[in-house]
């Protein structure tokens, strides 16, 4: 992948400055090596004890590029050190010894040493050790690309896994992703959530759309991350990002089709159940499609959302795209969500709603607003969808999906009431299911509060729903059938997964009263009855598609949901307007999700919510004056998102920015 190669690009000075850790119990050798390496212009650290060396490596994870170690050491066998380093830090290790017997050299090879030097070591041999560093990085890139979606799947459910993922041995590449410093810097990895250490890809609407179209091109059944990645041709996007997004997408699709979401299996296929979704299928993860389905949101936006959502995860720090997309997603939502508005505004808002995780959320308030709107629209869309049962074709699919599942009835019907402005909650619900579900949820959550209607369930779910960004209210009263089904629950749970996030949200939400401060709401939703949310559909997209899950998982959604929740509380105050604020965090997620961004939003929210450690202080309606109806409120989403994003950016610190979201940085939502 081009990224791979780019990742291995070395600076002009390279290999000068290569950070070498040399371990040898022989002080003579150590001194000589130090001198030699210094002559090679490397940055040398010497150590005469293996244990100390390990400590140094652990403490300063990214502080070294390569390790040179003697084989025979009194405190620890050199090969053991070799293994440890390989497992924990995945750095290239060169063994050396005065012993040149074949067995020992072979042992070095089998234990994974990248080279074996015979003592006395010549300086010429040391001059070229940098090649091992380069080679390893290059291989890691490849590994990343090739790592199966399985990992993604694993990660899906737990946002925190991402961090774990990176720490696992084979994640080495993540660790060593320090090599990809450029990317990392760009992504600005935020450690808002402890779990998310990797730069998160923000699956902006655009990115998601790309993803979706790639998936469609390949065929749902044949869409493998590697190919999708190739088709998408997004620099900085890794196969893993795609894989995880794909998984979410699949769940999303599945959810849409009403199938109980089980990890990615039938995802697209089950998804395909919904014909209208054709395009939706391509929606990766993000229920954008759903959102799109609502007709309001151009499928594209949804895609974008999805993509964004996916991108979120995938986007490596270096991906500016996702960011942008995110915005789009959100903006998309806004637009789309407008139920009646139908403006295809979709996410192209271009703003980078980086709400989606990790990526430096550039969501500015506008984005959030967009999201908000989107969410709203989504909500409305949902409504429409439900109302019509089939919102305009394509977008409808999503909505349809939602609507369909909604048939459960609650969903939209309740809220939607056609209240577009209301936050798509009602609408959003159904729609959200799709992808927006996440967002919607949030929205719903929000809407719920405000609405009180359908949301009631939401309230409970609200916690969960918060996700729907509070669009407060607008969330289709449907209380989102988020729960709709397990999907949602799943989604919800995903939210819960965010766990940490939830907590935050919960706490914040407390105000919301109805909110379940903990994301457990989602759990609750699932458990108790999806009806709460009626999210059934909600799985909204959340669940339905992996995306939603991802959203959720990324906690993003949850945050949104939670946000909503919390938001709801604020909602109460503002209800709609506040929703915006509150919803924002959620909304960010939700907003985006509205269109499809729902997912994103959720995600974003999550990230926003989560990242920013934004506790969804629902109160914070933040900038947007939280218009009650998220929809109309542009700020809603955007603001929320921005707020969230900002929060994220600011680190966990209380996101006092617009949203006053506390700390939920959606960005970190592990996609």
């Amino acid at each position: 992948m081009s990224t791979a190669s780019s990742s291995v690009t070395v600076s002009d000075q390279f290999p000068a400055g290569l950070r070498v850790l040399v371990v040898d119990d022989d002080p003579t050798c150590l001194r000589i090596l130090e001198k030699m390496l210094g002559t090679c212009l490397y940055e040398v650290t010497k150590c005469n004890r293996a244990e100390i060396a390990l400590d140094m490596l652990r403490t300063n994870k990214n502080g070294y590029d390569i390790v040179i170690s003697d084989v025979h050491m009194p405190d620890m066998d050199g090969f053991k050190l070799l293994e440890q380093v390989g497992l924990e830090m995945d750095l290239p290790v060169i063994m050396m010894s005065a012993d040149d017997s074949k067995q020992v050299v072979m042992k070095g090879v089998t234990h994974g040493a990248c080279d074996y030097l015979i003592k006395p070591v010549r300086i010429e041999a040391l001059k070229n050790i940098w090649q091992h560093v380069v080679r390893k990085r290059k291989n890691e890139w490849k590994d990343l690309e090739q790592s199966g979606s399985v990992e993604e799947g694993d990660r899906q459910p737990k946002p925190s896994e991402e961090a774990d993922y990176s720490s696992s041995a084979n994640e080495g590449n993540w660790r060593t992703s320090k090599r990809r410093k450029d990317e990392e810097e760009e992504i600005e990895e935020r450690d808002d959530t402890s779990t998310l250490k990797k730069p998160r890809v923000v699956w902006s609407v655009e990115l998601h759309q790309q993803f979706v179209s790639a998936v469609n091109q390949l065929g749902i059944d044949k869409a493998v991350p590697k190919k999708i990645l190739e088709l998408m041709n997004v620099p900085g996007l890794t196969r893993e990002n795609v894989a995880s997004h794909l998984q979410k997408y699949r769940l999303y699709l599945r959810r849409l089709s009403g199938v109980s979401p089980h990890q990615g299996n039938s995802f697209i296929s089950s998804h395909s159940q919904e014909p209208p979704y054709g395009s939706l299928s391509s929606l990766s993860g993000l229920d954008f499609q759903t959102l799109a389905a609502t007709g309001q949101i151009p499928a594209q936006s949804l895609a974008t959302l999805q993509a964004a959502g996916l991108a979120r995860s995938a986007a490596k720090p270096g991906l500016p795209m996702p960011l942008v997309d995110q915005r789009n997603i959100f903006s998309f939502d806004n637009q789309k969500l407008r139920f009646g508005e139908g403006q295809p505004q979709h996410m192209s808002s271009g703003k980078q709603m980086n709400l989606l995780h990790g990526i430096p959320t550039t969501m500015d308030s506008k984005q959030l607003v967009n999201l908000h709107h989107s969410a709203q629209s989504l909500g409305s869309l949902n409504m429409q969808a439900s109302a019509h049962g089939n919102p305009s074709g394509q977008s409808s699919p999503l909505l349809m999906q939602m609507a369909q599942p909604q048939s459960r009835g609650q969903i939209l019907t309740e809220t939607s009431g056609g209240q577009v402005p209301r936050l798509p909650t009602s609408v959003g619900h159904p729609i959200l299911s799709n992808g927006a579900a996440g967002a919607m949820l949030a929205i719903n959550g929000i809407g719920e509060n405000s609405r009180g209607t359908g949301y009631n369930s939401v309230s409970q779910t609200s916690s969960v729903l918060n996700f729907p960004l509070n669009h407060s209210a607008e969330l289709p009263g449907n209380s989102f059938p988020l729960g709709s089904t397990p999907g949602i629950s799943a989604g919800m749970s995903t939210l819960t997964t965010k766990g940490g996030f939830q907590e935050e949200i919960n706490s914040d939400i407390k105000g919301s009263g109805g909110f379940m401060p903990s994301y457990d709401i989602f759990n609750d939703l699932q458990q108790h009855k999806p009806h709460n949310w009626e999210l059934q559909n909600v799985g909204f997209a959340f669940d339905a598609s992996q995306h939603s899950n991802s959203l959720q998982a990324s906690v993003d959604v949850t945050p949104s949901v939670l946000v909503n929740q919390g938001y709801s509380s604020s909602q109460r105050n503002v209800q709609n307007s506040n929703v915006s604020a509150m919803g924002k965090p959620i909304f960010s997620v939700g907003e985006g999700s509205e269109h499809g961004i729902a997912l994103n939003v959720g995600q974003h929210l999550n990230s926003l919510l989560v990242d920013n450690s934004t506790r969804v202080k629902s109160e914070r309606v933040t900038d947007t004056s939280c218009q009650p109806t998220l929809l109309p409120q542009h700020f809603g989403q955007e603001d929320l998102m921005s707020a969230i994003l900002k929060q994220q950016q600011d680190g966990l610190g209380p996101a006092e920015n617009d949203f006053e979201f506390d700390g939920y940085s959606l960005d970190n939502i592990p996609v």
């Binding site: 119990d25 002080p27 050798c29 000589i32 001198k35 002559t39 025979h72 005065a98």
Partner: protein, 151 residues
Amino acid sequence: MERNQQLRRQLASMRQSLFDQGHLDEQFILLEELQDDANPNFVEEVVTLHYRDSARLITTIERALEKSPLDFNKLDGYMHQFKGSSTSIGAKKVKAESTQFREYCEAGNGEGCLKTFQLLKRDYATLRRKLEAYFQLARQAGPNEIACRPK
């Protein structure tokens, strides 16, 4: 000046004989090459490190050799370390004797080990003495004198 030149000549001669007598090999030269203005006494520094470390090993091996029965594994281990260190400074003869010692260890030949060790100790002491004299003279002659890299 005159004196200095004389010293230098003496130094060069000393150095050369170390090579000629087989005490030092080209590794020593590599060390000399590493020496620069930033580390003007690098070679001496490294040699000093070596003798400090190796003296300890010699004592350890001696004690181990007094044990009965001989623990060849341990002996081999110690000698391996010793060998590594000696190799680093280019102590040719000592290195050869270390290798021999290890072979005897592998063969379980205690007698061989003991004999070889005696030789090793002798050559080790010789080289140490000579190097010390060499460095002393080098210091007298001035920093630039150490290195004439013949060969």
